[in-house]
């Protein structure tokens, strides 16, 4: 169990990470909207980059849960944070600080980044790392 898991709750033998679950839904939404060119990026090239990154994040989060891979979940959370930072700063530079999306995306990026730090600095991760290096 890591700091991002719900204590004692298991779903099909797998831990449940509520923040990662919510971010998966958000990443799928951003992927679809950027592929369909309906998001803030419209038909800009950054929109395609963000679509690929958001799709990869959703895949890593879902795949990490199915395959019980903590590492994949951590990378998924990091990618989700990057996607939101890029979205937030793009809106900031294009429209300005008066745009609500800037601050909504910044908050979402903080949630994703915080979840990433909680997962990567967890003692469970320490145990995993020690086991890997002591086995060599």
């Amino acid at each position: 169990m890591t700091k991002g898991d719900l204590d004692g709750l298991r779903c099909w033998g797998r831990p449940v990470k509520p923040v990662a679950l919510g971010l998966t839904v958000l990443m799928l939404t951003l992927t679809v909207s950027n592929v369909a060119n309906v998001g803030v990026f419209e038909a800009l090239w950054l929109g395609d980059v963000v679509a690929v990154m958001a799709g990869s994040a959703a895949l890593l989060l879902l795949g990490g849960w199915v395959l019980r891979s903590q590492r994949a979940a951590e990378w998924g959370l990091l990618l989700a944070c990057i996607v939101y930072i890029v979205r937030s700063s793009f809106l900031f530079f294009l429209v300005g600080p008066g745009e609500q999306g800037v601050w909504l995306s910044l908050g979402a990026a903080m949630i994703a980044g915080g979840a990433y730090l909680l997962e990567t600095t967890d003692e469970q991760a320490e145990w995993r790392w020690r086991r890997k290096h002591e086995a060599v």
Binding site: L44, S88, S89, F93, L117, R128, W129
Partner: protein, 47 residues
């Protein structure tokens, strides 16, 4: 700001944020903690 310039600046911000997050996860992460614990044990052994 021009959309193309905004894209470039947003990409830069994304890269900076990634670097900060990865550095923070390394600094407070298990690897660094392990190194610190080893150094402390060595120092105590010397004393």
């Amino acid at each position: 700001v021009d959309p193309v310039l905004s894209q470039a600046l947003a990409t830069l911000c994304g890269a900076i944020a990634t670097a900060i997050l990865m550095a923070a996860s390394y600094y407070w992460g298990p690897r660094k903690r392990d190194e610190r614990a080893t150094r402390r044990a060595e120092r105590e052994a010397e004393e």
